[in-house]
């Protein structure tokens, strides 16, 4: 195995299966019953709690924690899921350190917030393990709504509409639903096929017909959808990726980080997934960190994450940066890529130091690389979409677009952070608005 780790180039099986297994288990293992009670006891049951305000889906956190503390995690789960039907996934992937837990008064008091995310997981796991779907549909309304994109935004929207009694058709261009929950989130955050299990569980509620392999602009068009349905919701995320615009960008070994991560998430056997010995990741967001960390966990010997501005400007939270560093990722800041060198395959990437305003210093350096991941942002793809605001679909209020009868939410819509929980909130709120609109039409 040692030889494999040192072998140059992009090769599979750098680590033995046991090492891979332990590298890709839960980042935060689930709380057991006693740990959950101890953690729940720390909640002060704040008045008009700041954690609720900080949660994009406004989960009643003090209430659900009290329900855990009194031995009713199922009731806690219901409190969570009534606001956020993907509360299970959010519990795993939310950057709580910049959301609810950052706002927790115990963070202010002693730098140790209540473990909201992990308690949320404890509650939702308990309920989901029982196979229970806690909500039932209202009487059928006879209205049909098309939801495009089965990521967090689309799923949340479809669920809420279905519960209101509408008939939902959920289209997705990919073969599997889940969006980035299935293809993007780091493997150690969503273990044991959780994304797929969660979608299957959500679908138990009924009222949603899933149509995979149906891509807007390929198999279906927006005009057709508008004609066949009473309303349309677009939750298509950001399918495209930004290019670096460098010479040599097409060299072998250059990849989009999201593709690498998608391969990793879909791999049946991580030992069969090739990875470079010297990996360079370009970017400063969550995608860059996830690509770098997972490359390292797969067995890459040297992984360097290079960001063009200073640390404070990185989109990845301080917690994510520290996580990367703790896994052995080297973080280089204030360096802009200027060229990719190599014959056919990439051998080195050349950078130039730059200040926080990207003014070059003239000082250059090269990093050896047999694999380079680009993670400098995703972009909206597709023609015939509603009017845009910058690079995303323009929305007003709860996801209304420039086209009547068409709503949008999640990453593809302007405003809000590109986070799972934000996508859920936007999908849910658009559903409420669609419902109100359809019912007002009588």
């Amino acid at each position: 195995m040692r030889d494999r780790q040192l072998a140059p180039g992009i090769v599979a099986g750098r680590l033995d299966p046991a090492a891979l297994q332990s590298n890709f288990t839960d980042l935060h293992p689930p709380l057991d019953d006693h740990e959950a009670l101890v953690a729940a006891d720390r909640c002060y049951f704040c008045h008009d709690a700041p954690c609720i305000t900080a949660c994009p889906t406004s989960i009643d956190i003090p209430l659900f924690i009290r329900q855990i503390a009194t031995g009713t995690p199922e009731a806690a789960a219901k409190t969570i899921l009534s606001q956020n039907i993907l509360g299970g996934m959010c519990a795993r992937v939310c950057p709580t350190e910049t959301l609810c837990e950052e706002a927790c008064v115990r963070e202010a008091a002693e730098g140790q917030p209540v473990l909201i995310g992990r308690l949320q997981r404890y509650a939702t796991d308990t309920l989901m393990e029982q196979g229970v779907h806690p909500f039932t549909r209202a009487a059928p309304t006879g209205r049909r709504v098309a939801v495009v994109g089965a990521g967090p935004a689309g799923l949340a929207c479809a669920h809420r509409l279905a519960m209101k009694g509408h008939d939902v058709t959920l289209y997705d261009g990919r073969a599997k639903p889940g969006g980035l929950n299935e293809f993007g989130i780091a493997a150690y955050k969503s273990t044991d096929s959780f994304a797929a299990r969660e979608v299957a569980w959500l679908m138990q509620g009924g009222g949603i017909t899933l149509e995979t392999g149906k891509r807007l602009g390929r198999e279906i068009t927006l005009t057709e959808l508008q004609e066949d349905h009473d309303a349309v919701f677009l939750g298509i995320g950001l399918g495209g990726v930004n290019a670096l615009g460098l010479s040599g960008e097409d060299r072998e070994g250059m990849r989009d980080a999201v593709d690498f991560i998608a391969d990793l998430r879909q791999a049946d056997d991580l030992a069969s997934l090739p990875v470079g010995r010297d990996v360079v990741v370009i970017g400063g967001g969550m995608t860059a960190v996830d690509a770098a960390v997972q490359a390292k966990l797969l067995g890459a010997l040297n992984v360097t994450l290079v960001y063009r501005r200073g640390r404070e400007r990185m989109n990845a939270s301080r917690y994510e940066q520290d996580l990367a560093a703790s896994k052995g990722v080297r973080i280089v800041t204030n360096a802009t890529p200027i060229a990719v060198h190599g014959n056919g395959a990439v051998r080195e990437v050349e950078f130039e130091y730059s200040d926080d305003d990207l003014r070059p210093t003239g000082e250059r350096f090269r990093l050896p690389a047999d694999q380079v991941f680009k993670a400098i942002g995703q972009a909206l793809e597709g023609a015939d979409l509603p009017a845009r605001d910058g690079r995303k679909i323009a929305v007003s209020g709860p996801g209304r677009t420039s086209l009547p009868g068409v709503w949008a939410g999640g990453d593809c819509a302007a405003g809000g952070d590109d986070l799972t929980v934000t996508a859920v909130a936007e999908g849910r709120d658009a559903a409420e608005d669609i419902h109100a609109t359809l019912m007002a039409e009588g």
Binding site: L37, V38, D41, Y44, H47, A49, P50, A109
Partner: protein
């Protein structure tokens, strides 16, 4: 390090920390290890008459009330007095006392209410070399159904009678252990005193059902689908015990009667509080049963440090020091006006003070848009609830208003002089102020 040597009714021990009569003192093995750990004395597990000993249940005998993280706040038991033969206990007591002459060893006794039975047991016990006897008139379960324990303790005449027999038939110091399962604790205390007892000890356990099994619909601990009430002890009973100790300490009829304080003593601080209210020493059961014998080391070091800080050279200087400050409500100074004050630097903005005051009290805390919490002096009645619910110690304080200032709530000038209810104009039975 302060000298903790204690002389309680002529019985000396190296410190005032005794183990109460209970499982920790049920046999030689335990008591030897307790003395090795540093306990100043023990009250041996209650002895009954000679002959076949009592039996205990063979199912669970304890139930517990928990705080956060399964911290034991209250313990309930349905155990009886010792279930080992009298001879065995006496022989063990003799051996232990011989090897530990500097420690206090007290025999706890419970026999039926007749003079012969008491005379008989006293004679056998004297032989062990023990330092005194404690009469268990407190056990509230099992034994009371047989006319002993709290069945005696609840009738002051019996208490006085048995105390009298014990003084008559023995030269040993006599401590009467009182049951709290009574309306006025001063009555049995006075009866004990009148009967000639040298001291009282209190409290024994409180009648209790700790919880109900909601599947079996039976009290816990559950024995084959049923449960009986037990006796409650541990930190939860301390406030009740403190009050009863203070009642006896400050009642002119019983003032000065030595008291051994029992009930929820868990730390040196609890012990010091009992002693300040008049207890000459303390006895401990639940804390030892929860954490083991070693806790006495913290009690010893803590009390020594406190006494050093206060400049006390003997525990006697602490005993009873708070008694004069325990008064009746009518004696409290109504001209003492305070207002809650929130220290904004310490406040973590949880809003608990607001919820408590707004929902359940006097609507005297304001909450701003950006979660700044402030007290409205014109509404605050100084009830202390916000201080009590605030999770940050010292964040909300009660600040006294200076004499001469106007209380914005009542519009009245705060007066310098002490004045209580007895002279208040609203009191129909007021006496004229001098």
């Amino acid at each position: 390090m302060a000298d903790l040597t204690t002389n309680f009714i002529g019985i000396t021990s190296p410190n005032p920390f005794w183990l109460a009569s209970a499982p920790p003192t049920d046999k030689e093995y335990n008591v030897r290890r307790a003395f090795e750990a540093g306990w100043g004395g023990v009250v041996w597990k209650t002895l009954g008459e000679a002959g076949p000993p009592v039996v205990n249940v063979n199912g669970p005998r304890y139930g517990v009330v928990y705080g956060a993280d399964r911290r034991v706040l209250g313990l309930n038991n349905i155990e009886l007095i010792t279930d080992r033969p009298l001879e065995v206990n006496l022989e063990e007591m003799r051996r232990v006392k011989r090897d530990w002459p500097d420690r206090a060893l007290i025999a706890s006794l419970m026999v039926p209410v007749n003079e012969d039975a008491w005379r008989e047991i006293l004679h056998r016990v004297e032989d062990t070399g023990c330092d005194g006897v404690e009469l268990n008139f407190g056990c509230p379960h099992g034994m009371s159904e047989r006319g002993m324990g709290s069945a005696v303790g609840q009738v002051p005449e019996y208490v006085g009678q048995v105390a009298h027999w014990c003084k008559k038939h023995s030269n040993l110091p006599v401590i009467v252990k009182l049951t709290p399962n009574i309306t006025d604790i001063r009555k049995p205390a006075q009866a004990a005193k009148d009967g000639g007892a040298d001291a009282v000890s209190l409290i024994n356990t409180i009648n209790s059902i700790t919880s109900v099994d909601l599947d079996l619909f039976a009290p816990e601990p559950t024995i084959d689908g049923q449960g009986a009430h037990g006796g409650y002890c541990g930190p939860a009973v301390k406030p009740i015990a403190l009050n009863m100790v203070a009642e006896i300490a400050r009642d002119p009829a019983t003032a000065g009667l030595p008291i051994s304080g029992i009930g929820g003593v868990t730390t040196w601080r609890d012990a010091a509080e009992f002693m300040a209210l008049g207890a000459g020493n303390v006895q401990v059961c639940t804390a030892a049963m929860t954490y083991g014998f070693k806790i006495v080391q913290e009690m010893i070091s803590g009390l020594s440090q406190y006494m050093d800080d206060k400049g006390f050279t003997s525990v006697d200087q602490l005993v009873g020091r708070a008694v004069p400050n325990v008064v009746n409500w009518k004696d409290l100074n109504l001209n003492y006006v305070t207002k809650a004050k929130i220290n904004q630097d310490d406040c973590i903005k949880c809003g608990r003070c607001y919820a408590a005051c707004e929902d359940t009290s006097h609507q005297a805390i304001a909450m701003s848009e950006d979660r700044v919490f402030t007290v409205k002096d014109d509404e605050c009645v100084a009830c202390n609830l916000c201080v009590n619910v605030c999770p940050i110690e010292g964040c909300i304080t009660m600040e006294r208003m200076a004499a001469g200032a106007v209380d914005p709530r009542t519009g009245e000038v705060v007066r310098e002089e002490y004045a209580n209810w007895t002279t208040h104009p609203n009191n129909p039975g007021r006496c004229a102020a001098e």
